[in-house]
Amino acid sequence: MEAEDVGSERGGQVMAVGRLGGWAVGLAILLTAEPTNRLTAQDTTAGKHVYQKWCAGCHGDNGAGDGPAAKHMIPPPRDFTGAIYQIRSTPSGQLPTDADLLRSIDEGLFGTAMPGWKSRLSDRQRRDVLAYIKTFSSFFTDTTQRPQPIAFGSAPGGGGAEALKVGRQLYDSIGCRKCHGDQGRGDGPSAPTLKDDAGHPIFATNLHENWRFNGGGTVEDIYHRLRTGLDGTPMPSFSDLLENKFLTDEQLWRVAQYVRSLSPKETPVVRDVLHAPLAKRLPHSPDDSAWTAVDVYWFPLVGQIVHKQRWFAPAVTGVWVKAVHTADSIALRVVWDDRSESPDTAWLGHIGRVLASLDTDDSTREQPAPWPDQLAVQFPVTIPSGMERPYFLMGSASAPVYQWRWSSSSRSAAVAGLARGIDRFDPLPGGAPGAQAVYDHGQWRVVFTRALASADTASQFPFRSGRAIPVAFFASDGSNGEHGTRMAISTWYFLALDEPVPARVFISPVLAMVLTLGLGMLVVWRAQQKTSYRKGRQ
C-alpha cells in the first residue's frame, strides 16, 4: 500500500517486504490477542480523571483522536483506539512499550501540538494516564505478550566526512530521497501523494529542522526511527534491510549521521535585531558569494489565527534572513524551506486533504486550486521614534505599513505597497524593489534590493542607518492550500543598518585608559614615597 508511495526499484521492494512483514506481525498479534487480564476499573479511575481534564480536548473523550481541537491542527491528535504509534522502540507493527508511551507523554512530540507533560503533571498522574490510554485499545489487554524493544546498540565511531559520504550514498540507494528529496527538505517526487493510514495529509519530514522531528533530533533518535519505522505513516522500518544483509548496522548509523548533519548543530535561537553590515557592493543574486560572510538570523513563523479566515496548519516554519547595505542601498535575502515550487498541480490532492482535515471560518469549504507561494516583508511607513508601531499584522486603516510582496507566479518582480489591514493592499506606483528568486530542492531564496531613501520619499519607506527599524515576515505555501489570509506570520522584529565605527568612538576609551593608568601610577608612587620617607626617618 504505502510501499507504492515510498518504494522504488530495489530498495523499494525490500521496503515493501519489510512493511508487509510488519503488518503480518501486527495481524498475528490481533489474531492471538484475547481480552484476558483486563485492567481493573480501580487501576484506571485516576488516569481517566487526568485524561478527561488534560487530554480529551484533543484526543477525544473516547480516545479516538476526535476532541474539539482535532480539526484545528495537522498532524491530528493520536487515535488511541487503533494502538498504532509512531514513536516506539519496538519493531514495526508491534505495540509500543510503556516506556515508549511515557516518553511521548513526558517529552511531547516535537513539531506538533503535543506538548511535554513532564513538568506539567506529577509522576503519578502521568503513569495513571498512561495506564488509562492503553484501555482504549484491546491490543493492550493481552498482557502475556509484552512488546520487546529492539537492542539498538550505539553509534559506531568515526563519524567524519567520509562517514557522511557513505550515509549520503545510502540515503539515495535505500530510497530516502523518494519522499524526503535530494537535499532532504521533504520535497521528493512522492511527497505530494503522502497520507497516513487514516487518510490524513502528511508531510515528508524536512530533515533540515531536527528540532521538529517528532521523536527527537539526535543521531540516536534518527537511527531508532530508521529501525522501527513510524507506524501508521508512510515511513517504513529499515530493520529488514539489516536482516537481509542488504545493509550493515554501521551503514544504517551512517544514514542517521548523514540525516543529522543536514540540520544546524544547535537549534536556532531567535534574536530580536537583524544586523545588516555595511558592504562595498550590493549582492543582487540569492547565490552571490558575498552572502556567505553575512550573519544569518532565524525568525519563526506560525499560523495566522487572528483574522478570519484563520489558518491552523502553516507549512512554512520560519525564515532565514541576511541583510547588507551600502551607502545608498539595501539588500535583504530571505530563505525558507518549501516542499513545492508552487503553483503545482501535482499537489492538488494534498491541498484537498489539508482542507478536508481542518475546520474553517468559512461556511463552505474552498476547492483546491494551484495557488502560488508568497512572501511579504513588512516595515512601518516611517521609523518610529518611540516604541509605538503600526499593528504587527499588516497595519490598520489609520496606521498602514509598508510592504514588499513577492509571489512565485512572477518570481523576479516584487511589489511595494501599503497594507491597511490584512485584506487591503495598495501598490505604490513606481516603487517596486528589485527582486531575484531561486527555487532549489525544496528551498526558496529571494533577494530584495532597494535604494535606502527613494526619490519619492513621501510614499516609500526611508531606510536609515543606526536606527532600530521594525520588520516582520509573512509566507504562504500555495501547495499547502495557503493564500489570502491563510499564511504563516511573525511579529515585529528589528532591522539595524550598522554604521562603521567612527574614529571618535575610540577617544573616550583611550582617555579613560590614560586616566586609569595615571591614577594607578600616582598611587604606586605615593606609596613608595611614604615608605622611603618613613625609612629615612628611622
Binding site: 481541537a69 501540538a113 491552523f312 516604541m387 536606527r467 568612538v505 575610540f506 586609569t516 594607578g520 606609596a527
Partner: protein, 258 residues
Amino acid sequence: MRAYLRHPFWQAVGLFVLAYLVIVFVIPMLPGSAMVPSSVVLQYMATVLVGILIWVSDDEARWTTFKEPLHEVLIQPRLKLVRNGLLAAVTLVVGCLTYSQVKASVAAPPNLRSIHPAPPSQITFRGKTITLVGLENPLRKQGEMAPHVAQGRRIYYQNCVPCHGDHLDGQGHFASGFNPLPANFQDNGTIAQLTESFVFWRIAKGGPGLPREGTPWNSAMPAWEDYLTENEIWSVVLFLYDQTGWKPRTWEVSGGAK
C-alpha cells in the same frame, strides 16, 4: 597554604569568589529558581563587596593585616612584575568597558508594557453597551455549572489552544512565534488577580482593544467578539477558572478591582 587561609586578604578574596560561584551556579540549581540576570549578579556582588569591606575594617588589627599584601604589591621591588601587570590589566579592563559603553550598537527599543492595563468602565460588544464595573459572570447564576464549563472547554480547545496551550500555561505550539508571549493562566499573576469582567473585556476586545500602555500593536490576541457570542465568552472565562482552580477576584471583597 595555611598562612593564606588565615590571612584576612585571602579570606576576603575567597569569600568574594565563593559568593560569585553561589550566585551564578548554585542558585539556578535550586528548585523553582532560574538563572540570575547579570544586572542582578552585579548588584549582589556589590553588596557582598561592601559586606566584606565592613568585615575586614571592623577590627583595626585585621584591617592592617588585610592591607599588607596590597601595600606590598605597591612598594616591593621584587613584586615589580605583579605591580605592572595589575596596572596594565586594570587599564585594559577600563578601556574595554568604556568602549562597550560608547560604541554605537542598535538594540531593540525597550518594550514597556502594562500587563494589566486599567479597563474601561464600559465597552460596546457587537453594538450592545456592557458596563464592566461591578459586572459578574452571568453564567454563575444560570443553573448547573457543568454544561457551561463543558461549552467553555470546547470553545477553548477549538480556538485558544494554539497559543495558550493544553495546560493553559501560555505555551501552545504557536506561542513562541509571538511577542508578547500568550498569557499563562496557571501563573498566579494573571486570571488569579483579575475579576471575570476584566477577563471578559480582554477576550472580547483582544490586542486591538488594548489601551496604548498595553502595546496593542504587538498583541496577537484576536478580538473574539468577531468569533464568539457574549454567552460563549463567559463560558470560556468559567472554564479558565475551573481548569486552573483559581478563584476570580470579586467586586465585593476588593471594592474596585483593576
